[in-house]
């Protein structure tokens, strides 16, 4: 229906993904408005600050490719953050903190996957329920307080460097490569594509949809736990509401990156660019002294713009009205 109303897409726009255009426009704009933007320390800062978001946006892409959604990831991240902060403060061990964070995240994700795949509850509702549960648990575990006194071994996860490169940037690279390989070079990745695009094919191939879904949501939760570790290291404390709203940034990054919310047309490099776009937007707005409340507002507008842009270039059809 929309195709008849809107003009046919311009050939140039087809070739260049929307996220590249957005990233270019924002970068040029901020470089013009603020001379400090293009300096290496600032750009490396943008990347490091994007690391937490990237860790949850990558698996969010997979979740959305299965025509799902994970609204709980921010709350799960908070729960993992306060739990691992407690463990780190009492034991002083980075490894234990990492294990606890990832285990709690994976457990929450597995419950999400079970609700979605076995009980057939719409992902949106299942993860909204998990949002409430994880938020309640995070408040209960931390008694509503910040947990401080994080040992230096945990702090080094964000502030340390390895061979001159900041650890969070190395983590980003590793996570991106691993997820890219998982999605594009393993049978599992093919199943994820099939879950969004052609579930019958998956059934005919004898693959259990449920197990793939379970894996996808569990992966999202586990990565949320890892992101919790990184966030705790960055904030130097665990706070029960530290991750609230991060699910929105993650969904925004995926949407801006050009993954469609129907039929599972996912594009992982787009998500990476989407994360960087949001990082650039936040950083640039900081440089020109826009308050953080209005930054949130701008990200909301960016998401809606992404959908409008895609509608006009014909890459995305949106809701069937």
């Amino acid at each position: 229906m929309l195709d008849q109303i809107l003009p046919t897409r311009h050939p140039l726009l087809v070739r260049i993904p929307g996220v590249v255009v957005m990233l270019a426009v924002l970068s040029i704009g901020f470089a013009w408005a603020s001379p400090g933007f293009l300096s290496w320390p600032n750009l490396s800062n943008v990347l490091a600050q994007s690391s937490v978001l990237l860790l949850i946006a990558l698996p969010m892409t997979l979740v959305i490719m299965t025509e799902g959604l994970d609204l709980s990831i921010g709350a799960v991240l908070s729960l993992a953050s306060v739990s691992l902060a407690l463990v780190a403060v009492t034991t002083g061990s980075l490894l234990l903190a990492l294990l606890v964070g990832v285990a709690i995240g994976a457990a929450c994700g597995a419950v999400n996957g079970w609700l979605v795949a076995w009980l057939r509850i719409p992902p949106f509702v299942a993860t909204l329920g998990m949002f409430g549960v994880a938020q309640g648990l995070a408040l209960a575990v931390s008694d509503g307080q910040s947990i401080t006194g994080i040992p230096t071994s945990v702090q080094a996860m964000y502030s340390g460097t390895l061979a001159g490169i900041p650890v969070p940037i190395l983590l980003m690279l590793a996570a991106t490569l691993a997820m890219h390989a998982l999605l594009y070079a393993t049978p599992f990745g093919t199943y994820v594509f099939a879950l969004g695009g052609n579930r019958e094919a998956l059934a005919f191939a004898g693959i259990s949809q449920r197990r793939v879904l379970l894996c996808v949501y569990t992966l999202a939760g586990a990565m949320g736990g890892l992101a919790g570790l990184l966030l705790t290291a960055r904030l130097n404390s665990g706070h029960p509401s530290a991750g609230i709203g991060m699910e929105f940034d993650a969904i925004a990054a995926v949407a801006v990156g050009g993954t469609t919310f129907e039929r599972g047309n996912g594009w992982l490099p787009g998500t990476v660019l989407g994360v960087i776009t949001i990082g650039v937007l936040r950083n640039g707005l900081n440089l020109i002294a826009v308050p953080s409340s209005l930054q949130v507002c701008c990200i909301g507008i960016l998401v809606i713009l992404a959908f409008v842009f895609e509608a006009f270039t014909g890459e995305r059809t949106g809701a069937q009205v």
């Binding site: 929309l2 959604l69 609700l115 009980l119 057939r120 509850i121 719409p122 949106f124 509702v125 299942a126 909204l128 329920g129 998990m130 949002f131 409430g132 549960v133 938020q135 309640g136 648990l137 408040l139 209960a140 509503g144 709203g245 929105f248 969904i251 925004a252 949407a255 919310f261 129907e262 308050p291 409340s293 209005l294 930054q295 949130v296 507002c297 701008c298 990200i299 909301g300 507008i301 998401v303 809606i304 959908f307 409008v308 509608a311 059809t317 949106g318 809701a319 069937q320 009205v321």
Partner: protein, 322 residues
């Protein structure tokens, strides 16, 4: 013609009565259990308090019900209440005139709803994304507008709207009863209302049979914004103050109330009366937790579990496939 095609057959009406009957039974059982568990429950003051709390939730949930009936979702209601309440509170404080506040709250609420409607119906952005984006836009605007300050101390006449009584019944409860009747008649007895059900049940069939799908969708989202504005007014009058984070924790309970009330997320099934019963159920649970002195930090957890359980029961009992 369209109305007769899509109006529900008689057996569906009776099954709807059964669905609501079970929920009323749950309300009754909950009341009995709570009055046994706590002496404070069955007092007139507490029951009026429950109804008054339910009224606030109902205003949000009623508009949301219309949206969910079209198989959509409005995640921005809580943030909408935040912005409407803050602007209305500031306006009232500056002018001392409650009428301006009423206009501001309802106007902003409805305008935000209309924007949602345009995003969903015209730009065809999936409703949860459009309203989720709107949530954060409103959230940011509210925090920027208030800049950390609180407005408080409203005229006495306005506060009657939240705390006053008329013939022994709290005024917000009367407003709730009135809006329940109006919206129930609108959805059940008018062609526009029937078209909302039809769009939710099968949007393609609705479009092919010549219904103005876009205009109805915009209407539904606008009404959802309008009821959020109404909730903002009641909230202002109750609290006698407004600050930026006022609506943040309200969206989850509102969605829960709609789903507990038996309105299906897949569209086309549900009633306003069901939402009213769902509102009562949820309010009773939260009130009971307060009376039994359970830490309020557990409330999001309980609400989350209730949401998932309600939808699971809906799917199991209706045999609907996702």
């Amino acid at each position: 013609m369209s109305a007769t095609i899509f109006s529900a057959p008689r057996f569906a009406l009776s099954s709807e009565l059964v669905r609501i009957g079970f929920r009323l039974l749950a309300v009754a059982l909950l009341c009995i259990a709570l009055s046994l568990a706590s002496d404070a429950f069955a007092t007139q003051a507490n029951i009026m308090n429950v109804l008054r709390q339910a009224s606030l939730l109902f205003f949000m949930a009623s508009g949301l019900t219309l949206v969910v009936l079209t198989a959509g979702l409005d995640l921005s209601v809580g943030a909408n209440i935040g912005l409407s309440a803050c602007v209305a509170g500031t306006v009232m404080k500056a002018t001392g005139e409650p009428a301006y506040a009423v206009v501001a709250a309802l106007g902003i609420g409805a305008f935000v709803g209309l924007l949602n409607g345009v995003l969903v119906a015209v730009l065809r952005i999936p409703s949860f994304i459009a309203t989720y984006g709107m949530l954060w836009i409103l959230h940011g605007l509210t925090y920027a507008y208030m800049a950390g300050s609180t407005v408080y101390g409203f005229p006495r006449g306005f506060r009657q709207f939240g705390n006053g009584f008329f013939l022994g019944v709290p005024i917000p409860v009367l407003v709730m009863a009135a809006s329940l009747i109006v919206l129930a008649l609108f959805t059940g007895r008018t062609i526009w209302g029937q078209q909302i059900y039809a769009i939710g049940a099968n949007p393609v069939a609705a479009r092919l049979s010549g219904m103005p799908v876009r205009r109805r969708l915009m209407l539904v989202y606008t009404l959802s914004g309008l009821t959020a504005g109404l909730a903002a007014l009641v909230f202002l009058a109750r609290l006698n103050s407004a600050e930026a984070d006022i609506g943040g924790s309200l969206t989850l309970p509102a969605i829960a109330a709609v789903l507990i009330g038996g309105t299906s997320l897949f569209g086309g099934v549900g009633t306003l009366f069901g939402t009213f019963v769902g509102t009562l159920l949820l309010t009773l649970v939260l009130n009971g937790m307060n009376l039994l002195q359970i830490d309020s930090r557990w409330q999001p957890l309980v609400t989350g579990v209730i949401i998932v359980a309600a939808v699971w029961i809906d799917i199991r009992t209706s045999g609907r496939k996702t």
